[in-house]
């Protein structure tokens, strides 16, 4: 256990509108391969550039669920309890294009997710905070209406 995980946010300390997470998540081609292996989603558009272009995409794109999973990981790490999420929902509004690295290992990040999470509502009786997430890549919103209900004490 590390100290950063020991400090868990308390419901009583939060205010509606308060920004609680602001971070950037780098994404590489190697990350897409790792996610494909972990999730079992081997859709070709997430690793084969020729195939992605043939079906009308600009390049290889990230799994929508990798984007959602990466930002929810930041939320559970913030909460200090990976079982604290009661409800999470999102819309995939734009794709995250992940080009091949110019040279060298494909583990070099070529895309980035910019995440901010703010307190949208607090239900003190239920012990639940609703975080409203904004997620963009290359200046474009990639997730819309992303709301996560987190149980806190």
């Amino acid at each position: 256990m590390t100290a950063e995980h020991a400090a868990r946010p308390a419901l009583a300390d939060l205010e509606v509108g308060e920004r609680v997470i602001e971070t950037a998540v780098p994404v590489s081609r190697a990350d897409l391969i790792a996610y494909a292996a972990a999730s079992g989603d081997h859709n070709h558009i997430h690793w084969n550039e020729r195939y992605a272009r043939e079906v009308g995409l600009p390049d290889v794109i990230a799994h929508g669920m990798l984007t959602m999973g990466s930002v929810l990981a930041k939320v559970t790490d913030w909460a200090g309890d990976p079982g604290a999420i009661a409800d999470a929902r999102t819309r995939f509004t734009s794709m995250v294009v992940v080009p091949d690295a110019e040279s060298g290992p494909p583990s070099a990040p070529t895309a980035q997710l910019d995440l901010t999470a703010a307190v949208g509502a607090i239900d003190a009786d239920a012990g639940i905070v609703r975080l409203d997430l904004e997620v963009a890549s290359a200046g474009e919103k990639v997730l819309g209406r992303t709301q996560v209900k987190v149980r806190l004490r």
Binding site: M1, P82, G83, T90
Partner: protein, 149 residues
């Protein structure tokens, strides 16, 4: 190929429960960058009150997409997978998923409509404890099948 709208209300189940392992949880946590020790260390998970290591929030997509896949890939569905894009996703938890869980999965085709040449399909997959039958998490997913234009 046209999407078969007569399948609204149909349901599909995994033939065997999905067995949640510590290794699968750790691999998934690394893939999404989840760093809480309770994903990797059973002692840390017990410290938070869980029976074993805790799955990342979106981990249930493994069994839910597998179960949705039975529907999506069935010839009767009429879905061209190369034209599918993911529209929406929602997880409603009764309790977290932990290692050792055996999850039965059933996908219900809740919404199936065509608009402007595209088809929009909403599935609801219920993941339940295979022994008790108790619901663990509901995964609702909307996909769009792009028209041939």
């Amino acid at each position: 190929m046209a999407v078969n709208t007569e399948l609204q209300g149909a349901s599909y189940s995994l033939p065997q429960p999905y067995e949640v392992s510590r290794e699968a949880i750790a691999e998934f946590a690394r893939a999404v960058g989840a760093e809480n020790p309770a994903h990797f260390d059973a002692e840390a998970a017990r410290g938070l009150g869980y029976a074993d290591v805790v799955a990342p929030a979106t981990f249930p997509v493994i069994p839910s997409q597998r179960c949705e896949g039975i529907y999506i890939s069935s010839p009767e569905a009429g879905i061209d997978y190369s034209r599918v894009v993911h529209g929406q996703e929602q997880f409603e938890y009764v309790r977290p998923v932990v290692a050792g869980d055996r999850l039965a999965a059933t996908t219900h085709v809740d919404g199936l409509r065509e608009a402007g040449g595209n088809a929009m399909i909403t599935t609801r997959t219920e993941l339940s404890d295979a022994e008790s039958g108790d619901l663990v998490v509901t995964v609702t997913s909307t996909i769009v099948v792009r028209g041939e234009k």
